[in-house]
Amino acid sequence: MKRRWMAAALAAVLSMSVLSGCSGSGSGTSASTAASGETSAVSETQKDVAAVTAGEDAKIADEIDIARAGSVTTLDPVLLSYTPDIQIVNMICEELVTTNDDGTEIVPGLAQTWDVSDDGLTYTFHIIPDLKFSDGTDVTGDDWKFSFERAMTTEESPWAFAAANIASVDTPDDDTVVITLKEQAANTLSNLSCFSVALQSKAQYEATNSYADAGSYPIGTGSYAVSEWVQDDHITLTANPNFHGDAPKTATIKFQTVTDDNSRMMMLKAGEVDIVTDLPYSSMEEINNTDGLTAVGLPSTSNKYIILNETSNEALASKEVRQALLYATDKQTIVDMVLYGYGEPAVSFMPKNGLYWNDTIEPVSYDVNKAKELLADAGYADGFDLEVLVPSGNETYSQIATILKDMWAQIGVNLTITSMDQAALYDDEYAMKHEMVFGSWSDDIADPSQLGAYWWDFDASQCFFTGYQNSDAEEIFQKSQTEMDDSAREQLYDQLQQIFYDDVVAINMYHAEATVAMSDSIQGYVQTPLYAYRFDNMIKVEE
């Protein structure tokens, strides 16, 4: 009798001690960055992972392993849509021009120099001579033509904007590409840096049945090429032997798909992979406290919006109500609880440090009383009901919704959280049936016009699914597309940002940093704010 109880008690005590032992360095330290009011000082003191300090004769590894949450589903530059796909295409294909590592300017890509005609409609690009694809075949004018034509004529492409303004493409010889536009546009070069108009081998396209064959991928001129691809498991890239520039330092890079966050972290800790992306913000501190590992937050173009549908909920149609919600949203707390300090509250709808980003707009402060006043003025003194749709499985949105529910309850707004599967949610969103959803954005070109079009061209997305219509704003945006003078264009975007904030078209919660964790043996890790990898100088130093 007694023995039984002792056995059970012993088992319980043992299991508890094993578990507390398991937590390692993390158990005592709580998130100390949670003090409200502090902006993120994290990025200033973290390690510079882009720096390469190893000497010329340092011993470096042949292969680097990276674990990512998402897997590659398609590598067709014109039809792909998800970041893991885009990142690979960016490594194996190149465009006429590209962005620098900061994502702030356009620099030469495959085109070394270019001339623009006086009317701004004709761009003549001078290509690097004797260019070869990674399979050794020569690059000809036909390949350039084919790459552009595909981008121009594929209706289903989410990137149609990049080639929309191109009237024709000519190649008088293999080293010259002439692009004629329909009208002048300030974002021409940015659009030409988009992966959808990257140079691809026409022969490869035809050999793979127009990329319809299973596991087919483009052959480009990038510093790496695909050597092996096992769907949903991994994709391996090896250095391009026919690269026109300096060979990349690491011969092979293998990207593994590991969907479970914990598993990814454990693999890093166990030394099974060298780098892990999409690290949960809550794990950053733990990784940094682990010997031999580093976790950093990097600049990104990401934004997170609270999308309020003016057409489906009467209260939301009123500007005062939306302002009340803005006043009742403590963005800093959200940043602390969701991002653990790796980000900052946002005002503008545009990405932080992106072109024309305006950080001078005066934000309102978190003020619950003011919020209640506004609500009362608008006729909602007792608050109102609101439903937010959240895609199931998305922890970030779920977290934000939970926090908002608590915050907005203080002004009498009763937020119910409804979880739906993603596809069904898209349906409702496109049909404008939702009252509130969350929106996410990151740029694919280093120009605000991609995001601008999504917001201010009503047919594109009904103003990011808010139903907000403002013909003045739409005119301003159309003007910005053809405005060639830099400072004039900047002013137009300033206006748009002001309108966005004053009218509370939506609430942009924060600019988040991209997170990545890696072993200390990795040096030279470079990622642009557009999430493109620049791994040519990346090495893994072996002892």
């Binding site: 589903t73 209706e155 289903e156 989410p158 064959d213 087919s216 454990m266 596809a423 349906d427 999504y454």
Partner: protein, 313 residues
Amino acid sequence: MDVINYIIKRILQMIPVFIIVTIVIFFMIRMIPGDPAAVMLGSKASPEAIASMREKMGLNQPMWTQFLIFLKDLFHFDLGTSVKYNQSVSSLVASRFLVTAALTAVSTVFSVIISFILGYVGGMKKDKWQDQIIRFASLFGLSAPTFWIGLLLLTVFAVNLHLFPVSGWGDTPLDHIRGLILPGITQALGVSAVMIRNLRNNVIEIKGSDYVEFAKSKGLKNSVISSRHILRNALIPTTTLLALKIAYMLGGSVVIESVFSLPGLGALLVNSINARDYAVVQGVVLTFVIMVMVINLLTDIIYSILDPRVKLS
């Protein structure tokens, strides 16, 4: 001869089930709200782009037309093409099938070993200390969430002790087996707990039943009674339960495959439902259906072998 006739009869009976399931799945998945074109192109695609894609994917045709096309392909053993992976569904399913089948097999082996031994011992040593420990252990195993156990085992054995890989399927057959041990044990623990209790229960009942008393009184040795009478009879309902549990483990593979990052059918199913990749969903479900039917058939046959009183009808 009897057995073969029975098998043929069962296969014939399975065909209508198969057909019904196919029809139900085909229409059910298409009735769920959600547009595969929208999922594939992502949220940045314009409404025109999505409409264009729908046209290209043949989604604007009436459902009956789509169903007839599906049937026609099925007769040619063509399960269609995955829109997400750009691969034929059959090859996609085949590559994943191996993983899930191996995982289920390993889990079953572990379950059988753990539960048959412990269940029998527990029943024979009723109320003694062995029984007490077994009962308590199985009670805990019963109540612990599988993914929780999986994470614990991972932390201890893979991360800290480096005995097993943290995740993944690996490249060689040896890697495969190593990669399946932790997930296999994880699944087996939950399932074993139920089977131990069931078997123990049965053993106790039979042990105290009349014909065992009778056999004892006739002077048969305990060991003979154990194996021939008690074990055989006790195993019958437990075997039925095992079949149920194998089917359950097949379905539960989704969660395990997620925690241990195994590229199996469960993970494929969830991904393709989310992506509304209709052809793949159909293919995977049909595969599961066949697997389950085969398991049931085998169980009934084994059941009849174990218990001569029961005739295959």
